[in-house]
């Protein structure tokens, strides 16, 4: 084995600066951070970045946008732990540490000519958003597109304005909540109760799923029983991570590293994963 010690200043663990150019409050605990990076980054939907605040630490965050020439990157972050709380305390103009992109990203070419079913729960909409944006732009490449999106309450619906835009672009958007309120007259219940709403030939469709663990499991199983081939049921998994590059061991599961082998897996991959 040739050991390469980079004598240069290059170090994969060293984050670059990202300047927060815009912060959009999406719900009570979710904000969208528009970040400008030092150099242009080439990333795919489903990949993630290690985002850090010095003194607080580093967390994996998946991208919520498509790459563009302006070196901007959108990160949709829910305030839930130490680091995300630190990120939420930052203001416009301040910098955060960014390194990446890591992970495999969603297989998008398999959706060509097929119906697409997107199933999201809560903050799980974030990594799926760039796919939806891409599909609204390249609407002719695929068949019918349905988005099922479940939230806790109507106030927790992230990108609520954008769901209207998506619908205007010929995407069937079905929202549901766990618990409604006075102004809500839409669906109440689980996303997995919405299969009849989906415009798709399940046997020839592709699904992209992201959300809480239980939702992912239920949605994958349901779609499989509805006749969707297991390699066409795609999800992205979440895990505690410290490095993002397959070294720290935290995301090791079923003989795979979620960071480098994933985070995107098909139902077939997941069924083949060995416990634990």
């Amino acid at each position: 084995m040739k050991i390469k010690d980079h004598k240069t200043d290059r170090n994969i663990y060293k984050p670059m600066n990202g300047r927060i150019d815009d912060i959009i409050q999406l719900t009570a605990d979710v904000r969208l951070f528009r970040v400008k990076t030092e150099i242009p980054l080439n990333y795919k939907p489903g990949q993630f970045f290690m985002v850090s605040v010095w003194g607080a630490g580093e967390v994996p965050i998946s991208v919520a946008s498509m790459p563009d020439k302006n070196r901007t990157l959108e990160l949709c972050i829910r305030r839930t732990g130490e680091v995300t709380t630190a990120i939420h305390s930052l203001e416009k103009g301040q910098t955060i540490g960014i390194r990446g992109p890591y992970g495999n990203g969603f297989p998008l070419d398999i959706s060509k000519g097929r119906d697409v079913v997107i199933v999201a729960g809560g903050i799980g909409i974030a990594p799926l958003r760039p796919i939806i944006q891409m599909l609204t732009r390249d609407r002719d490449d695929v068949g019918r597109v349905s988005v099922l999106y479940g939230s806790r309450t109507p106030d927790d619906i992230i990108f609520r304005d954008e769901t209207v835009e998506w619908a205007d672009n010929g995407i069937k958007v079905v929202l549901t909540v766990d618990k409604g309120n006075d102004s809500w007259n839409g669906n109440v219940g689980l996303v997995t109760g919405l299969w009849p709403e989906v415009l798709a030939d399940f046997k020839k469709a592709v699904a992209y799923i992201c959300g809480p663990d239980v939702m992912i499991k239920a949605a994958m199983r349901d779609l499989f029983f509805l006749g969707m081939p297991d390699e066409m049921i795609i999800t992205t998994l979440e895990s505690h991570m410290k490095c993002g590059i397959g070294k720290c061991g935290h995301c090791y599961y079923g003989a795979r590293y979620i960071c480098t082998d994933g985070p995107v897996f098909s139902y077939r991959d997941i069924k083949e994963m060995r416990e634990p």
Binding site: I3, N17, E38
Partner: protein
Amino acid sequence: MKGEFILNKNHLSYWLRQLRKNRELIGPLMNSGNGIPGNSQTFGGANDIVFKSVDRIHEIVLDCPASLPSPKEFIFPQYEPMLKYNRGETTDKQKTDEISSGFHITDLKDRTRRVIFGVRSCDISALKLLDKFYLEGYSDPYYAARRENTLFISIVCNNPDPTCFCIGLGTGPYLEGGFDIQMTDLGDRYFVQTGSSGGAKTVRAFSFLFSRPKKADYEDQYEAFLSSKARFQKRISLEGIRQMILEGKVKDAFWQSVAERCFECGGCVYECPLCTCFTVTDRVYSEGIERIRLWDTCMFKGFTRMAGGLLPNEKMVMRTKRWYYHKLIHYPETLGGFGCVGCGRCTITCPGRIDMATVATKIKGLAVNSQAS
């Protein structure tokens, strides 16, 4: 690269003294017992023999037990500073422009040149897998920097401990290759083999100390090897165990019985020359922030804790099973060898007696029992 020599024992300390001139010399030393808690290099029991920086060469313990702590911490330390972040002008040439935090990030990679004397064959075998793990795919810059600057002088174990089982795994007590310099104790002299260009250079630079081996030396070396082989008390083949697990013959009830004996101390992981997990954390000091990494262990419940507090591996059985599956199933698939080199350190450390050797023996027992019934 490959060479065979004889070194008279009287010349050993002179040779090491010369090597120390441009490298830090590390060797097995008796621990004084007073030091900083949390730093295994300075802390420990008074009679422990540990790898330490050698101040007085005559204090190196040549006849130490085979199972002294692994020198893993010199290439993957328990505590490693990674980056330092403090206020100041950035000198980073990559920086394009307007985006600057007004802070400067310093890389704290350790490039100290070291020579580690007295390493055991099992630990040299572990290096092969560690190299593959850390350097393939995304290369780990901290490991790479330390690894490239460290030379290993290993010693064949003429007197294995009762806990050693490298013999069944082909990871010791004597190696055919993969070492920098391998030495076999022949009583009044060492049989020295070089296996890498770094090792060959180290010997060649002091060629006046070394002589060509004669027929008698080869015979003595072979004899030492045979007598060492005969001294092993444990013979464990992990391949059979792996097959049994793959065939589903090891049920969850078995792993449950293993988990029930686990104290969650993490000792097996910290002693293991092939355990690689770490955590990263920031330490805030008055003069800046240091990002450091520390050994971590999958035996702890919090190892997989996610934001929001979800614990995917809350049950102990998940964690013990994960450790064994990782070492017995995943390592052979991805790195081409077991995640165990038979050093037997977990056998010494584990208070619950659920170490690799014991568990492997129990699994083997399952096969015997199932055949009987």
